[in-house]
Symmetry: C2
Subunit: 335 residues, 2 copies
């Protein structure tokens, strides 16, 4: 049995179906250009919980429940939940999925988690290990800021390269049969570290990983950027997107005509003061599970290459003067 296409890509024999998705976001995301595509917009940053961390878990829990309900399945029909998040020890997911009663495979891909979880779910479904799975992730501006940067009360200045962590969650139900867009290929990412040390410039840290994974995808499949309606990166924002386009141009791939980025789509950076764009696991999760999934269902997009990107540092490694490794995982999805 060989399902491999080239060095880094697998092609699914029976492309798994994304039968349902859900996306729930916070207030600021609900004021952005994608507001019509979310299941729910939660105005209260605490969502009636006692902490932002508990609120983030609630985003995951309710988003999963929504996606499950839309799929018509009961929890008992699922063999695996695959998920992770940015909080220390992936606590957003562990506590968010604590009561699901479904076998749980914890993943860590930082902001690439939506693509990573879709990819692993697809391999388990196509491989015959599951008939139905959920891929889920979340982030929360307030829990991320105080963990990675400063207490919110401090009111620190943000440089123009900084991105705004999305408050939100996305969940996709990935299964063997049913109607919906299909996951066709997966190109797994390598860790790339070009020496960027500025934790306020994640886009630059992640762009080389995105370029590496996308170039590998084109080489492995023999495709060109124009073969896709949309090449969608996770959360490079404006700085990282420009770098990505330049890096791929040097390798002979021009994605400038059909590239977009979840971090650019989810906010109106000019009006919403989000600087270089959105970020966080919830950024690509809510954009993909909300807006992109809708566009695939309506056949407005027929073929998307979704490459979510993650920065794999911690506050400890940054404080110790380490550079920031990036990773990008890409799945191609057909309407």
């Amino acid at each position: 049995m060989n399902k491999r296409t080239g060095k880094q890509t697998v092609t699914f024999g029976t492309p798994p179906v994304i039968t349902a998705t859900a996306a729930i976001v916070g207030s600021k995301e609900g004021q952005g250009p994608l507001r019509a595509y979310f299941d729910q917009i939660v105005e209260d940053t605490m969502w009636e919980m006692d902490s932002w961390e508990q609120a983030e878990s609630k985003f995951q829990r309710v988003t999963f429940a929504n996606a499950l309900a839309k799929s018509g399945h009961k929890a008992d029909d699922l063999q695996y939940i695959l998920g992770g998040d940015l909080l220390n020890q992936c606590a957003g997911t562990s506590y968010g999925q604590r009561e699901a009663g479904i076998p749980f495979l914890g993943l860590y891909g930082a902001c690439s988690t939506m693509a990573l979880s879709l990819a692993v779910a697809s391999m388990l479904v196509d491989g015959g290990y599951a008939t139905c799975t959920a891929a889920v992730t979340s982030s929360h501006f307030c829990s991320a800021e105080r963990q990675f940067r400063f207490p919110l009360e401090y009111g620190g200045q943000r440089p123009p390269t900084a991105q705004w962590t999305v408050t939100g969650a996305g969940c996709a139900i990935v299964e063997q049969a049913g109607n919906g867009p299909r996951v066709e290929t997966y190109t797994a990412g390598k860790i790339k570290d070009m020496g960027i040390k500025d934790a306020n410039n994640m886009g630059a840290a992640m762009a080389p990983a995105a370029a590496d994974t996308l170039a590998a995808h084109f080489q492995d499949t023999g495709r060109q950027p124009a073969d896709y309606d949309l090449i969608l990166t996770g959360d490079l924002g404006s700085v990282g997107s420009d770098i990505l386009i330049d890096m791929l141009k040097e390798q002979g791939y021009d994605i400038s005509q059909n590239h977009n980025d979840c971090g650019l789509l989810i906010f109106d950076s000019q009006k919403q003061d989000t600087h270089a764009g959105g970020s966080g696991c919830g950024c690509s999760a809510a954009t993909f599970c909300g807006y992109i999934y809708d566009q695939l269902k309506r056949q407005n997009i027929k073929k998307v290459l979704f490459a979510a990107t993650g920065a794999l540092m911690s506050t400890t490694t940054v404080q110790q003067g380490e550079s920031i490794p990036g990773i990008a995982h890409a799945v191609s999805i057909l309407a």
Copy 2:
């Protein structure tokens, strides 16, 4: 294609082979009962690096390199490295595998990571998505203590239920063909939280998850505990092991005759003052990849059920008064 056995278990059609392993540990582990089974014992807690976190990454990097060399493969032969660890944002793994140049799937299972990574690697190999993979994890007493508990310089007292985080790493090469023990089944764990809030009693927090996964395994496969030479839990230590045995007895499964725990094996708790035993991702990793793999190769153990356990809390969730969710993933391995 249906490879499922019961609700939570998959059975591999072509059981993946663990063709090589490596285990490297620190000084205290090197003074313990398993000292003869490790590839290397590193006396310097910093291992010539600038921080304990960098040292933990070096444990992973060198352990992976050793396992790869023993397997006779070059890095280019591997399609995936699967790994994770306990440091915030799994930094031990991201930085440890940064230069590997191999597609990387990040996992988060806390101390269950060795079994989780073996399980996911096995599904990807058996499913035809990879011919050769590496499953790897690590922990470090010093980086864990200062992240989860107190600065080492503080010299805090440790209660009798506390466990000692193992300094060490383990890596297994899991592939389609070759000679070595084979991964036969995987029983995926559900998150279980029985309300334990004492972060110095991880064994009690994780025991219900271990009981749940093991009971599911016996139910799914129709097997009895006596069908295994050894039922090996990850790092329940003495407190958790006693709870596990009692919980399973109530469900009709007596594992008292053939159960052991990596946390009990790796240290001589009486002589080494490690209280309830060892813990950390490196505990089950070094015990499995060092001692147990050797016993399987020598056919001293012919059939082991390896259920590594993880506690999925963070310092933030504990400080916020949350209880500690546990998880256990079980793989059965034949000599």
